[in-house]
C-alpha cells in the first residue's frame, strides 16, 4: 500500500505541475517507511540500553550505588547537647560546661617529624614532651590521644598553627569540657567528671538529670570536606535536648568561709579530719556542708580516692553528748521532767554489768536537768532517762531521723546505726542516752538538732533547690521535704533554753567559747570515743563536736561541727565551740539577722 502511495506521489508532479514543498522535502529525506523504521530501531536500541541499565541498577545490586552516593555526599554531624550546670542558691556556677576538643594524632603521618611536633605540642598545649614523643612515634597506630578536654579556642589555634608550620597528622574532635571554677569549694558535694563520665558526687548521682541527649543532623553536602549544605537536598535533623541545671541550696561564699574556718580548726588542733554543716532552720535547706580534708575538683587525681567525696555523709560515728539534747527533749515532751527537775548525781552509776562515769571526777552533785545539760553529765542524763517507758526513747530517736538516710539525693550517704527494737537492751539504752552505742552522720545530727530549733517540727534536710530526680529514681529537693512534729513546741523551747545555759552559765556551762557576741545562742558539746574499725573497740581517740542554733528565741541557723581525733586533747567546748561561734557569727551577719534583744535564759543549773 505504501508503495502504491509512493508511486502516486511520484506520478503526481507529472499530472500537477504545481507541487507542494512538503513533497519536495520528502523526496530529499528519503522514503517515509525507511525513516520510520530506522527511527524506531534507534529508539528501541536506546530504550533497551536504558532498560538494561535500569535492571542492572534496581534489580541486580540496588543498594551499593545508593550507599556510594550517600557516602559521597551525605554528612551526618552530631549536635551536642549541653550538660546542665550545677549552681549555688544565688545562681553562681559550681560546675559548668563549655565546648572542648581533644587533640588527636595519626602516628603514621607524625612519625618522621615527631621530635619537632612533640616540642611544638609541649609549647602550645603544655603536654609532656617525652610522652607526646612516644605517642607520635607509635608503630602500627593511626590514632593517639595527645590531650583531652582542651578549650576549643586553644585546640583549634594549636592545630591551625601546626598546619601552617607544615606538621601533618594532627586533628581535633569534640570533647566537652566541665569546669569547676571554684576549685575545692563544695567539691565534696559537686563531685567531678572523668574523661568519659561522672565519677563522684552530684555529678554522678544526678547524671541523668544533668546529661541531656545529643541530637544529629544528616544532610547532603556539596562536598563532604567543606560540609556546605546542598539546598533542596535531604535534611534530617533531630534537635539535641540540653540537660537540666541543678540548683543547690548551698551558699557558695558561706561554703568557702566554712571550709576555710574548718580547715584552720582541724590544723590548729592537729586533728585527723573535720566536718561542718549549716542549715536554714525554717526551711531545712543546707547552706553549707564542708569536709576537711577535701579535694580540688579541677585536679581530683591529686587527692587520694577516699577524700573525693563527702565524709560528712558517708562516715558515721558516735555522736556523744550532743545526743543528750534529743534524749531530754523526748522526756520533756512526755512531761516526765522539767528543766528545773532536781537530780542528785553520784560519781558513778551502775548500768548492766559496767559502771558509767562522767567526763570529770565528782562526788554527789546537786544538779537540775538544765545543769545536767549545761555540765554535760552522763550520769544525770541516764538517771533522768530512766523515766522513759520501754521503747519510747527509740521511737523519739527514730522520729528525730536517726538510723535512716536523710534523703539528700546522694547515694553515698550512710544511714548510721540505731539498734533495732529486738536488739535493744536496758544497758544499751543507758549508753544511747548520752550518745554511745549509736552512730550517725553529720547531716542526720544537724537535722535532729534543727528539730529543736524549729519548735519541735523536723524538716527533711535538702541540698537541691526545687525538685530533681536522681539516678536511682528518688525525687528530692526542697519541694519534697516533709515536716513532721516530733516534740511539742513547749518541749522544744525548754530544751533550747537549757542549751543556752551550756554557753552562758558562768559556773556550769562547758562551752563559753561558742558564744556569739550580741546574740542568744543555744548549743551542746559532744566528746565521743571513737570505735576503731579494725579492733571494733574504743581506741582512745575521740570525736569532738558542737551543735547549736541562734538566736535562741527565734532560730535562723543550725550549725553543727565535728572534728575527728584532735591531737591537742581538746574537747567539744574548746575545739569545736569557737568554730561554731565563727561560722554562726558569719552566717547571722551575712543574712542580716538582727539580735532578738530578749533577756537570756537564767534557768538554775544547781540547787
Amino acid at each position: 500500500m505504501a508503495r502504491r502511495e509512493v508511486k502516486r506521489s511520484v506520478r503526481r508532479p507529472a499530472r500537477r505541475p504545481v507541487s507542494r514543498p512538503a513533497t519536495k522535502a520528502t523526496q530529499r529525506r528519503g522514503p517515509v517507511h525507511i525513516r520510520l523504521r530506522v527511527g524506531f530501531i534507534l529508539v528501541a536500541m536506546v530504550l533497551s540500553v536504558f532498560g538494561g541499565r535500569l535492571v542492572q541498577l534496581q534489580g541486580i545490586d540496588p543498594h551499593s550505588y545508593a550507599a556510594m552516593a550517600a557516602a559521597e555526599n551525605v554528612v551526618d554531624v552530631v549536635l551536642p547537647a549541653e550538660r546542665g550546670e550545677i549552681l549555688d542558691r544565688d545562681g553562681e556556677a559550681l560546675a559548668d560546661s563549655s565546648d572542648g576538643l581533644m587533640v588527636l594524632a595519626d602516628p603514621k603521618q607524625t612519625k618522621k617529624d615527631a621530635p619537632a611536633i612533640a616540642a611544638f605540642l609541649a609549647k602550645e598545649l603544655g603536654v609532656d614532651y617525652a610522652s607526646a614523643l612516644t605517642k607520635l612515634r607509635k608503630d602500627g597506630s593511626r590514632f593517639q590521644y595527645i590531650k583531652r578536654q582542651v578549650p576549643a579556642t586553644q585546640a583549634t589555634a594549636a592545630v591551625e598553627k601546626a598546619g601552617k608550620e607544615g606538621f601533618q597528622g594532627l586533628w581535633t574532635s569534640r570533647d566537652p569540657l566541665r569546669n569547676y571554677p571554684n576549685g575545692d569549694v563544695a567539691a565534696n558535694l559537686v563531685g567531678f567528671m572523668g574523661n568519659d563520665g561522672p565519677l563522684a558526687g552530684l555529678e554522678a548521682a544526678f547524671d541523668k538529670h544533668l546529661a541531656g541527649k545529643d541530637g544529629h543532623a544528616e544532610y547532603d553536602a556539596t562536598s563532604p570536606v567543606s560540609g556546605t549544605r546542598m539546598p533542596l537536598g535531604t535534611n534530617n535533623r533531630v534537635d539535641p535536648v540540653d540537660g537540666h541545671d541543678l540548683t543547690l541550696t548551698i551558699d557558695r561564699d558561706l561554703q568557702y568561709y566554712v571550709q576555710q574556718t574548718l580547715m584552720d580548726a582541724v590544723q590548729k588542733s592537729r586533728a585527723e579530719s573535720g566536718m561542718a554543716v549549716v542549715m536554714d532552720t525554717q526551711t531545712g535547706e543546707i547552706l553549707s556542708l564542708a569536709d576537711y580534708p577535701t579535694f580540688d575538683a579541677r585536679d581530683p587525681a591529686a587527692s587520694p580516692k577516699s577524700l573525693r567525696g563527702s565524709n560528712a555523709l558517708s562516715n558515721v560515728y558516735e555522736p556523744g553528748s550532743v545526743q543528750k539534747v534529743l534524749t531530754v527533749a523526748g522526756l520533756l515532751d512526755q512531761g516526765l521532767v522539767s528543766p528545773s527537775t532536781r537530780l542528785k548525781v553520784p560519781g558513778s552509776y551502775r548500768s548492766g554489768d559496767a559502771d558509767i562515769h562522767d567526763w570529770y571526777e565528782h562526788g554527789m552533785e546537786k544538779l537540775t536537768l538544765a545543769g545536767v545539760i549545761a555540765k554535760s553529765s552522763n550520769i544525770g542524763t541516764v538517771m533522768a532517762a530512766d523515766k522513759y517507758a520501754d521503747g519510747q526513747l527509740r521511737e523519739y530517736l527514730a522520729a528525730f531521723g536517726e538510723g535512716r538516710r536523710t534523703g539528700l539525693g546522694l547515694d553515698t550517704e550512710s544511714a548510721g546505726l540505731l539498734a533495732s527494737p529486738e536488739s535493744w537492751t536496758d544497758a544499751n539504752e543507758d549508753r544511747i542516752d548520752f550518745g554511745q552505742s549509736i552512730s550517725v552522720n553529720a547531716v542526720q545530727m544537724t537535722a535532729a538538732l534543727n528539730t529543736i530549733a524549729n519548735g519541735g517540727v523536723r524538716i527533711d534536710p535538702s541540698l537541691i533547690s526545687g525538685r530533681a530526680t536522681n539516678n536511682s529514681g528518688a525525687e528530692v529537693g526542697t519541694d519534697t521535704a516533709e515536716r513532721t512534729r516530733v516534740v511539742s513546741a513547749k518541749a522544744a523551747t525548754e530544751t533550747a533554753e537549757m542549751m543556752e545555759r551550756v554557753i552562758n552559765d558562768p559556773v556550769n556551762g562547758v562551752a563559753p567559747g561558742a558564744a556569739v557576741e550580741g546574740y542568744r545562742v543555744s548549743g551542746k558539746t559532744g566528746t565521743a570515743q571513737r570505735v576503731n574499725s579494725e579492733c571494733k573497740c574504743y581506741d582512745g581517740t575521740t570525736t569532738v563536736s558542737f551543735g547549736g542554733f541562734a538566736p535562741t528565741d527565734d532560730p535562723r541557723f543550725t550549725v553543727y561541727v565535728a572534728i575527728h581525733n584532735p591531737g591537742n586533747g581538746g574537747g567539744g567546748g574548746t575545739v569545736t565551740g569557737p568554730v561554731f561561734s565563727q561560722i554562726m557569727s558569719f552566717a547571722l551577719r551575712r543574712y542580716g539577722v538582727p539580735p532578738t534583744g530578749t533577756p537570756p535564759s537564767k534557768l538554775p543549773t544547781g540547787w
Binding site: M1, A2, E5, V32, H33, L36, E92, A93, D96, S98, D99, P151, A152, T153, T156, N179, P181, N182, G183, V185, T222, S226, G227, T228, R229, M230, P231, L232, R252, D253, Y256, Y257, Q260, T261, M263, D264, V266, Q267, R270, E272, S273, Y292, P293, S303, P304, K305, S306, L307, E517, G518, Y519, G567, Q582, S585, F586, R589, G592, P594, P595, G597
Partner: protein, 191 residues
Amino acid sequence: MSIAAAPQSPVRSPDRATETQTRLTAVPAPLPAPVAPRLPFVVLVSMLLVGGVVGLLVFNTSMQQSAFQEQRLQEQATTLAAREQALDGELKKMEDPHKIAAKAKNLGMVIPQNAAMLRVPEAKIEGEAAPADRSATPPLHPKVAKPYSVLVAEQKAAEAAAAKKKAAELAEKKRAQEAEEKQRTSSGEAR
C-alpha cells in the same frame, strides 16, 4: 505500516468513485484557512523556556550562595561562641572565692567578727560593733599542705599498690618455679 496507511483510505475511496461514477467538476476553491502568525507564538514559547531555565539557574545559584553564607556565618557563630565561653570561664575563675579572699587580704582587708545593724526607719542600732581584728578571718591556705589524714590515706593507697605488686610478683615467681619443676621432672623422666 498501518499508521501510514490509515490516513490514506478516505482519500482513496472517493478517488475510485470519481473514476467510475462522475466526471470531475470544478469545485469552488476552498477559502484559505486563516493561518495564525507563527512568530509571536515561537517567541513566547522560547521566552518562557529561556526565562524558566535562567530563572531556575539564578534561583539555584542564589540558594547555593546562601548555603555558603550560612556555613560561613555558622563558623563565625561557633568561633564567637567559643570565645564567649572562654571569656565567661575567665570571669568565673575570677569570681572564685579563693581568689577574691586572696585579693582582699593583699589589700589588708579582714572579716569583721562583730557588726552592728542599723534599723533605718526606727533609727535604732542593734548589736554592738567592734573593731575588726583578724580573729574571724580564716587563713587562705592550709599551714600543712598535706595534713596527717591525707598522708595516711596516701600511704594506705601506696601500701595497697605495693602489696598488689608483691602478690603479682610472687605469683609470677611461683609460676616460673612450677614451670622449672615441671621441666626438671620431665627431663628426669627422660633420663
